[in-house]
């Protein structure tokens, strides 16, 4: 926003330019809200470094002795052993072995977290790639050609997003059962691609509409074919938009829960339906759950910062651009 013109400075202050005092007051309220809003997140991150007993201490501990127990518990399966048996074992080889043994536990092997995390990555990146690929093509088609009933088609594409996921999942579940796609990467990737397609077409159409047509027209005159012009002129110009769209698709796939819950059970299960089932001896192992949550949320926090400029566009399907 531009500064007010110099002549204006002498006259009465409008609410456009707030007085320093009201500005400071506004800042104070916003900072207070921000701190309250971020406190639960910081609490979860802190909990992941607490010991199980500190995590459920009363009153809650703000200061505590940090430990990586929660993180070790997240990634391993452990068995409780008697001290006599422990004495017969060779000395621990790694720091995590040592940490587990200090609690009378022996690490039996890796937990399922790593494969679930990999599933989230595979499904997330797979569906993002497909959604952006299909979306880029369709967006270009809608942006540059006179498509019959274009507005109706675009609204149809958007309306696929209005269905409650559970309602979609009922027939999809039956269809996938027939096709053998339940609990497979392919099934989840196809579904997420379809859900993301609406976002990707709408966002990318907005980005492509902003690229002047003259560039391609000039390229066509120079003897490029339509496809060459698309590849060599339009795509490079749209690359920022494509990247932003890709991140939005990835965020959706990464965070999605309902479909993953109903359509996967093991092999292809992603993190969101898995995290609530991280349990330790006698109930939920809160530091381990907090560690999984932290691990899962940190990439999204990073994307919030990266996407800051395009966020508005992304969350409104391109309806609000600036």
């Amino acid at each position: 926003m531009s500064a007010p013109p110099a002549s204006h400075l002498a006259t009465a202050r409008s609410i456009v330019e707030a007085s320093p005092r009201s500005r400071a007051a506004a800042g104070l309220v916003v900072v207070a809200y921000a701190l309250v809003t971020v406190a639960p997140l910081l609490w979860i991150v802190a909990t992941s470094f607490k010991s199980p007993s500190d995590a459920i201490a009363y009153p809650p501990k703000v200061l505590f002795q940090p430990t990586l127990e929660g993180w070790v518990n997240l990634f391993t399966v452990r068995t409780r052993q008697s001290p006599e048996f422990m004495a017969t074992l060779p000395p621990p080889e790694t720091w995590w072995d040592r940490l587990a043994r200090s609690h009378d536990m022996v690490i039996a092997g890796p937990s399922k977290v790593a494969p679930r995390f990999v599933n989230s990555l595979v499904v997330g990146f797979g569906s993002t790639f497909l959604a952006v690929l299909l979306g880029t093509l369709a967006a270009y088609g809608f942006s540059r050609f006179r498509v019959p009933l274009a507005d109706d088609l675009l609204f149809f594409i958007l309306s696929t997003r209005m269905m409650p996921p559970i309602a979609v999942a009922i027939p999809i579940y039956l269809m996938y059962r027939e096709l053998g796609l339940n609990d497979t990467y392919m099934g989840l990737i196809l579904l997420y691609t379809a859900v993301n397609a609406s976002l990707s077409v709408w966002l990318l159409k907005g980005f492509m509409d902003e690229i002047p047509r003259e560039y391609e027209e000039a390229a066509l005159v120079d003897g490029y074919t339509r496809l060459q012009a698309f590849r060599k002129v339009v795509l490079p110009q749209a690359i920022t938009g494509i990247a932003a769209t890709a991140i939005f698709c990835l965020v959706f796939s990464w965070n999605e829960y309902a479909f993953a819950l109903l359509l996967t059970s093991g092999n292809a299960q992603t993190m969101p339906p898995f995290i609530p089932f991280i349990i330790g001896e006698g109930g939920q192992d809160w530091p381990a759950v907090a560690a999984a949550t932290t691990l899962f949320l940190v990439p999204m926090a990073a994307f919030t910062v990266i996407l800051r400029k395009h966020l508005l566009r992304g969350i409104t399907f391109g309806a609000v651009r600036k």
């Binding site: 809003t37 639960p40 696929t160 979609v168 027209e217 759950v289």
Partner: protein, 322 residues
């Protein structure tokens, strides 16, 4: 995001365009535009037809039968409109619609008030507003399911951060109340968490609305000695209204579909006081396996959200044109 031709390498192409007879350009471009357009658009359409429309039609078909997907080989019987009649006369379904309405209305009211208020404050542009805005945006990007799961920890009666913070502020007892287990509090608990998560969404849209208002309107009002309150009612609010309405539309649709966060936070309980439509649908479809019945319910939900969205968009356009 402005694109000026001087900055771009393709500017040479633009200039070259002037040197070529326009007829040639038109011929090259017009060669097979129609088929090319379909080439670009068809892939996404095929995917949406396969993953959205075909299953939808299947669901509509099933909604007229007594099909149960846990017994796929049982004889299929056509029951006509019986499922629809059963749903519309089922008090449990009406109860879940009431719960959904309570959730949708109160989340929208609170998020609009908070989001708009925050946007007004941030628009004062105090020092560091960019950083604090990003902090406030964080919850919105996170997985609703994972959020719902970790809030169960924060709402633990004695040890939870929320209960202790609330007890500290009110001077009560942190184990004196249960946000999740109490029938009067639980419906507000889901509203609270959703508001925590999605207020930034409304805030971001309102901020765009506020920034779209030209400053000279305020300057003119200032010349006319309009009080700040009057400026707010006659300039700010009407100008931001289309943006607010857009935010209501998106939040309304999303929360009508709400499943993931609430399923992990309260899973509809205690009793069924937080059982939203989607959770009822999931119980019917994937726990009781009443596929025909739940398909009918899914169709009703879809028609409701689709119809309401259509009417609303018309109202929105009317406001925009005013």
């Amino acid at each position: 995001m402005s694109v000026t031709s001087q900055e771009r390498p393709s500017a040479a192409l633009v200039r070259a365009a002037g040197a070529v007879p326009p007829g040639l350009a038109r011929r090259v471009r017009g060669l097979s535009d129609r088929s090319l357009a379909w080439l670009f658009i068809t892939p996404v359409m095929v995917l949406l037809l396969a993953i959205n429309i075909f299953p939808l039609i299947w669901a509509v078909r099933l909604s007229f039968t007594n099909y149960k997907s846990n017994r796929p080989n049982a004889p299929l019987r056509w029951v006509g409109l019986d499922n629809y009649a059963d749903i519309l006369s089922d008090p449990d379904v009406w109860h879940s619609m009431q719960v959904t309405a309570h959730f949708v209305v109160w989340t929208i009211v609170l998020q609009m008030l908070l989001g708009f208020g925050l946007a007004l404050l941030i628009n004062r542009k105090f020092r560091g507003h960019g950083f604090w805005t990003t902090v406030i945006l964080l919850p919105m990007m996170l997985s609703p399911a994972v959020v719902g799961n970790f809030w169960t920890f924060l709402f633990q009666p004695q040890i939870g951060l929320f209960n202790n913070a609330a007890a500290f502020l009110t001077g009560g007892d942190p184990s004196g109340f249960q946000m999740i287990g109490d029938v009067t509090l639980a419906p507000w608990t889901i509203v609270l968490v959703d508001t925590w998560m999605w207020t930034p969404y409304v805030m971001l849209i309102c901020l765009a609305g506020l920034r779209s208002i030209p400053e000279d309107i305020y300057e003119a009002a200032e010349v006319d000695r309009a009080s700040p309150l009057r400026q707010f009612w006659t300039i700010t609010l009407p100008m931001v209204l289309p943006f607010l309405m857009l935010a209501v539309l998106f939040r309304g649709i999303e929360n009508f579909k709400m499943f993931d966060m609430v399923n992990l936070l309260t899973s509809g309980g205690p009793g069924s006081v937080t059982e939203l439509a989607s959770i009822t649908l999931k119980r019917e479809a994937f726990e009781k396996w009443r596929t025909g019945y739940s398909s009918a319910f899914a169709v009703i939900l879809f028609v409701t959200v689709f119809g309401a969205a259509n009417i609303y968009v018309r109202a929105l356009n009317a406001v925009k044109q005013r």
